[in-house]
Each structure stands twice: as C-alpha cells, then as structure tokens.
C-alpha cells in the first residue's frame, strides 16, 4: 500500500434527496467503496448515470457537488488523508496535486477570460511555476495536445475555439500545474465521434508522456478500454467488479459487467423497400431566416412503411433541421415532401389535422418534452382527445393500453414526470406519439441522453412496436451502433448534404467515401489497442497520400 498515490478506503457519500410531495431526505449514494491507484496508472471508473462515478471522482478532490457530502471513509493522497485538515488544506491540494477535467469544457471555461489566463491560473496561484514558466508550459502542452498555433492559442477566448479544441485546452489546464493525479470526468462524451477519437488520442498521449496518474470516468466501456490500465465497474454506488482492462473486457466475472460488455448486440434483419414509400423527401433545400447559407442542400430520401431510415451525421450536419423541414417547422426554400401519396404543405399552418396526426415526433430530451405539472395520464391523454375525441372511461382504458405497450404497468397513470427515471420518461414520450396512431414517427436522438442498457431497452421497445403497429421511423442519431441495431436504410449527412444513402448493407459495406470511412472507423470498438490501430492506420494513409 505504500506506493499508492491515491488510496480510497470505505468511502461513503451522502446527498439530500427531494422526493416530490415529501420532506427532503438524507440518502447515501456511495456505499463504502475502496480502491487504490498507483503512480502513473490510469484507472477507469465505469457505470451508468447514478452509479456514483463522478461523485467518487470529485471526492478525490474533497469536493461535493450541490448538496453532496462525504459522510464516511478516508481518501489518502500522497500519504495524507485529505478529508482531515479542513478547507484550507483541501484548497492547497486542489489545482496543485489533483486537477479535474470536466465533461463539458464549453461550460467549464469562464467565457469572460482568455484561455491562457485560465490554463495557467492554478499553477501560478499555487506558486508551482512563475507566470512565464506556466505560460511556457501551457504553450508546450497546447502543442502536445495537437492544438493549432500553440504560441497564440491561449490568447483566444473560449467561444473562439471549437468544442474539441476546448476539451484539449481543458486537459492542458489540468496538466499545467504538474499534478500527481488528474480526474477526467467524461471528457469526450459531449464530442462528435470523429472529434472524440482525436481528443482521446491526445489525452492518452499526454497522460503517457507526463507520467501522471489518472481516474478516467465514463459510461462508455469501449472508450475506457482504450485509455485505462485498470477498470472499476460501479453500480448504484457500489463496486461491482475491479480488474485489469484486459480482464474486464475479455473475461468479465459479474453478470452486470457482462451485460455492459455485450450491450448493443441487437440483431436486426433489414427489410426490403416497398414500391410505395410513406415519406418521400424530394430535392429539399432549406435555410434559416437571416442566414446566408443553406443548412439543407438538395436532400432526397425515402422511407418505406413499417421500416426505419436512420439519418446519421455529426452535430451541425443538418439532421435535426431535416426533421424540422419534414414536420413543417422550417418550410423548405425548394423541393417537395410527399407523405402517404399526398404532397404536404411546406408550412405547419397549411397542414390538416390528419397530416399532423399521422406524423409524430419523439425528442432527445424527454425531460423538457413533457409538461412537469401534468400527470402521465394527462400527457398521453391529450392526443387521444385532440385527434380522436376520446373522453372519460374510454380514454382511460386507451391510456392504460398504451402504458402496457410501453411496458409500464398500473400506477404510472397518475404519476408526474419528476417521479420517473430517464428511460421511463422516454417511454411515456413514445406512448404519447403512439397515441395518435401515426404512420410515421421522427425519433430525434431519442437514446442519446440514456445509459447504454436503458437505451438498449428503448430500442428493443421501438422495434417491437414497429413490428406490431407497422409504424415507420425516421431515426436521427450520431451513434452508429444504434444505426446498426435498428436501421433498414441509412442516409449519411455531412454539412447539409446526404453524402451516402442506401440500404443498411450497402451503406455499411466498402467501398466507402472518405467521410463515411472516417465516421465508421471513429466509433470506438470494445477491444484493447483499437485506438492505436486506427491512429496508426490513419497516419499510414496520410503518409501514403
């Protein structure tokens, strides 16, 4: 134990819960977790949301977010229990011995200050380096992390650089004071898959070169497999399994770990296109008012009854805008949209109630897509009244029927959204869309905000409903694993254009265009050494050109 840099013993963390309609309660969210981390090693903390992984990571800085408090146990760093000695000792530790990389660098950087000032602040504050030394270190780190123009990069403000660059700058911020331990809290989760791979490689190299120890927190096992030496699997604030990365990935012992490793194993046979598509988007071009460029350029796709068309692409590629054009929220400047054999009015106001009923939508954030002051029954009942005029007992029976379909039982009808989990909320949104008996549902990133196992459940539900109800899905996502799981045909979007379109097999089989190749090869695979393989392969190719 003498060599351990970080030694966490029987850590217990509590929080205040605010159950609806009840007085606040003190609850325990981490129940006695112990682990050690040696110098220069990387430990991955993995688990779904609520597993306590971020909470444990922040405990290594003696920090509790919001009302979170460390209620028991010891956290030894460099031979000292940091929980003893009060806030002043903790402040000496934070930013000097232990530093933190937040999930959303875009929010974690102060918008009012230049990057250089923020990156060097901790090093200068703790008198680890002079201002000149710290700035020289920052420039070197910018260079090492592959940031453009490292000499002048720090003179920019956060809003002047991209999300991927900010995440690297955040890593520079954490490494600048020469800490012993860095906590990486989901550092690549908010990034596009094509950006994630570069940031991941930069972080891995920086960890390796500086010899710093790291806690790497993520919900994505394939990502953590690329950077961690050891992995600890957490669930509901308990340690489930702890082992080397090799053992966790290739020989998981616990049932829960096995589920995590085998997630996304849905098999879906693609269906053949029928002669009459339910939706036909023909040469649609659209732009937002007041902007000088088209966000959708000459888009033509078709969706067949009872099938799924997946629209993939990174953020800003125009996927959600396509959904807005189809629903009539953004009237196209050119082209036409045909639905079930009739041409739809480009504007929402010009569409009939029948048009609206047959084309429903489910959103990414189930939370904000529901009125928090309405019960589940009211939420699902609304389309029943609006489209079918159902009332009273008849309506209630139909609501219950829909709740059964989404695998929520009795008793949910009178609950409020705040009393549901993330997955349950998304199920209610699905029921609301189904209530209209639509021919087609647009699913906009409906699983992106969910944990892998929960997302899996939602996808299975959507597939089962498709089979039973014959509803077609336009499925917008950035996640290729999801696409593989449910799509019949795929449209790959890049900068407002469809760069590749066809049946799932066609689109996912070589020969690829450059962008699809980049996109496909960037999806982390759950095997050791994948990152190195891809990077080496790309270097070779660019050297070959």
């Amino acid at each position: 134990m003498t060599d351990a840099l970080l030694d966490v013993r029987n850590l217990k963390i509590g929080a205040t819960a605010y159950p609806p309609g009840e007085p606040p309660q003190e609850i325990e969210i981490v129940h006695g977790v112990s682990f050690t981390l040696e110098k220069g090693r990387v430990l991955g903390l993995i688990g779904e949301s609520g597993a306590g992984k971020s909470t444990i990571g922040l405990a290594a800085l003696g920090y509790g977010r919001g009302g979170v408090k460390i209620t028991g146990g010891e956290v030894w760093i460099n031979g000292r229990d940091i929980l003893k000695g009060g806030i002043r000792r903790l402040r000496d530790l934070r930013g000097a011995e232990v530093t933190y990389v937040a999930q959303s660098a875009a929010a974690a950087f102060n918008p009012a200050k230049k990057l250089m000032e923020q990156v060097t602040e901790a090093a200068i504050h703790h008198k680890k380096f002079s201002k000149a030394e710290a700035e020289a270190r920052a420039v070197a780190l910018f260079g090492k992390l592959g940031l453009p123009d490292p000499e002048t990069f720090g003179q920019r403000y956060p809003h002047q650089v991209s999300g991927g660059q900010l995440q690297r700058a955040m890593t520079a911020l954490a490494l600048c004071p020469e800490p012993d331990l860095v906590i990486f809290d989901e550092p690549t989760t908010a990034l596009d898959v094509t950006t994630q791979i570069d940031v991941l490689a930069a972080i891995k190299e920086a960890i390796h070169d500086t010899g710093v120890a790291a806690l790497y927190i993520t919900h994505d096992l394939a990502v953590v497999a690329q950077v961690a030496d050891d992995i600890m699997v957490l669930r509901h604030g308990n340690k489930v399994e702890y082992g080397t990365t090799d053992q966790i990935i290739n020989a998981p012992q616990e049932q829960y770990t096995r589920e995590l490793v085998s997630v996304r194993s849905i098999q879906h046979e693609e269906k053949l296109p029928s002669p009459d598509p339910v939706l036909k988007v023909d040469r649609v071009t659209a732009r937002y008012a007041g902007t000088g460029f088209d966000v959708l350029k000459d888009i033509s796709v078709a969706l067949h009854p009872g099938q799924t068309l997946a629209v993939v692409g990174e953020s800003g590629s125009g996927k959600s805008t396509l959904a807005r054009a189809i629903t009539g929220l953004l009237p196209p400047t050119d082209g036409s949209i045909t639905f079930d054999g009739r041409t739809l009015s480009p504007t929402l106001a010009g569409r009939s109630r029948e048009d609206l009923r047959e084309l429903q939508m489910i959103y990414q954030m189930a939370d904000v897509a529901m009125n928090p002051r309405q019960t589940v029954g009211t939420i699902i009942g609304r389309p029943l009244e609006f489209y079918f005029g159902l009332k009273g007992r008849e309506k209630r029976a139909r609501i219950q029927e829909l709740l059964d379909q989404i695998e929520l039982g009795e008793g949910f009808i009178d609950r409020y959204p705040a009393e549901l989990s993330g997955g349950q909320k998304q199920r209610v949104c699905i029921a609301r869309a189904l209530a209209a008996k639509p021919k087609m549902i647009i699913c906009d990133e409906v699983t992106s905000a969910l944990d892998p196992l929960v997302a899996d459940g939602i996808l299975k539900l959507l597939l089962a409903l498709q089979k039973r109800e014959g509803v077609a899905y336009l499925f917008i996502t950035h996640d290729l694993a999801t696409v593989r799981a449910i799509a019949d045909s795929i449209a790959v979007m890049y900068r407002g254009k469809v760069v590749r379109y066809g049946s799932k097999t066609e689109v996912l089989s070589p020969p690829f265009d450059d962008y699809t190749d980049l996109l496909l090869s960037s999806v982390p695979e759950m095997k050791l050494g994948w990152l190195e393989e891809v990077i080496a392969h790309r270097k070779m190719e660019s050297a070959g050109n």
Binding site: R65, R91, G95, T99, A102, A107, F109, N110, P111, E121
Partner: protein, 318 residues
Amino acid sequence: MSPAIKLIAQRIALGLLLLFLVSILIFVGTLILPGDVAQSILGQSATPEALANLRRDLGLNDPAFTRYINWLTGIFHGDLGTALTSGQDIATAIGSRMSNTLFLAFWAAVISVPLAILLGLTAVRYKDRWPDKLISAVTLASISVPEFMIGYIIMYFIGVKLRWFPSVAMINDSMSLGEKLSAVAMPVMVLTLVVLAHMMRMTRAAILNVMQSPYIETAELKGLNSFMVIFRHAFPNSVAPIVNVVMLNMAYLVVGVVVIEVVFTYPGMGQYLVDHVSKRDVPVVQACGLIFAAVYIVLNMVADIVSILSNPRLRHPK
C-alpha cells in the same frame, strides 16, 4: 466592423432618436398644461390688452410647430431660452444649479457604488450566514424608510446633537473643496443609504446567478479561495446587470434628489425645477425636463454600451 462597434453605433443612434422623441413629448406636454403664462406673470388684475401684448411678445401666438422648431434650434445653439418670470438666461441659471447637483451626485456615487458592490460580494461570500443577513436587513431598512425621514434623523443626530456637519447644505463658488464636502456630507450620507440597497441586492443576485455555472466549479477545483472565485470568475460575468442597476441609481441621484435638496435647502436642479413649476414658467420646465431626460438616456446608454463591451463574444468575434 466588429459586431460590438456596430451595436454601440446602433445604440447611440437609438439614444439620439429617443432624446428627439422626448423633446417632442416635453413640448407637447407643456402645451396641454392648463393655465396661461401671461396671466400668471401679470396676475389676476391684468387688462386684456396687456395680456395680449405680453402673449405677442413671448411668441405665444405663433403656431406650436414654429415654436417647437425655434425652441429646438435654440437648444442646438446652447440657448435654452429666457425664464419668463425672472427674465434670466436659463442656461446660465441652470449651469450653476446643475453643477451643484452633479457635485452632490458625484460624491454620493463615489461612496455608494464601490460600497454597494463590496457589500454585494461580501453577501455572496457569506451567503445565508449572519454577514449576509445583516447586510440585507440594514440595506432593506434604509430603503424602506422614506428619504426625508432619514434626512431629518441624520440631521438631528449628526447635525444638531453631535454638531459634526452643518445641517443646512448651502454651498457657493467661494467655498474651498473641503468646506463644500463638509456642507454636503449629510445629504451624501442620506443619498448613499437610499441607493445602496438596490445596487447591493442586484450585485448579490447577479453574482449568485453566475455562481451556479460550471466554470465556478472549475475555479473552486483550482484551489482558489471563495473571494478569489467570486471576484475573478463570477464578477466579470455579472457586470452587465450590475452596471444597469448602477446607472439607474446614478440617474436617480441626478434627477430624483429634489426631496433631499428641500430637506437640506441645497441649491440644486430639483429645487429650481419645483420653484418654476409652481410659477408656470414653461421654458424653465421644458429645459429642466429635457436635461433630466438626457441624463437618463445617456446613463442608460452608457450601461448598455458597457454591457456590450463586457461580452467577450461581441468584443472578440470568431
């Protein structure tokens, strides 16, 4: 052109337009006021001929539009007209009154603005603990008591009982700065108490709002102490709302001090205006109205410009 410069230019143009509209409003407003200037100058016993002559001499028979244009042209030449009652040049009379008002407002601002911000920062630092509660209670109490009341209380204790400062704030040009400051000490105290609460509470609320941001967590995890986190990281992001409320209070210090001026018989703009309203001296009322409106518009314009400049996205576009 950077978006900040464009926005500032727009804002200035808007301010000028607003000032122009206000000038129309003031002119029309005084037109429809009941009463007759000639009558009030000459008194009830004036003969109809005398009234008609005076009206002609004062130009009151010209069409309203001509009078408005004449008035506006005069203002552009620095001529605010002549007071009907005393025959004095308004610009000269207002000049000395205005400088007295600004002198009082300046010292009240010099003390109250930094004090309010400091108290606001302190209240955030000790949120929900006794310093926060004490600051809130005292500033709330001071804003709740009518200002003339505070004026008389302070006058009674400091002026009459302790005899530290004179209870009548008369100043004139022959006094030295020290004498002037001593004369305005009590009105400055009262004004500070009156404007402090609003600015302090806005500072506190604006900073607390920012304190929820993830970058505050980043700063805390760098090991900075609470005051550094608040001052370095929260304050720069809450400048815009704070400047707005500060400027509103500055405007109040110039425009709204008439009660204090009466309490301390201070020769400022407010008293001058009130005197001439009661005498129906329309040109003076118009001139004062326009100046007060200009002060409000300019200070709010400054607040908006500072808000624009405090936003790095506008100052440094991509």
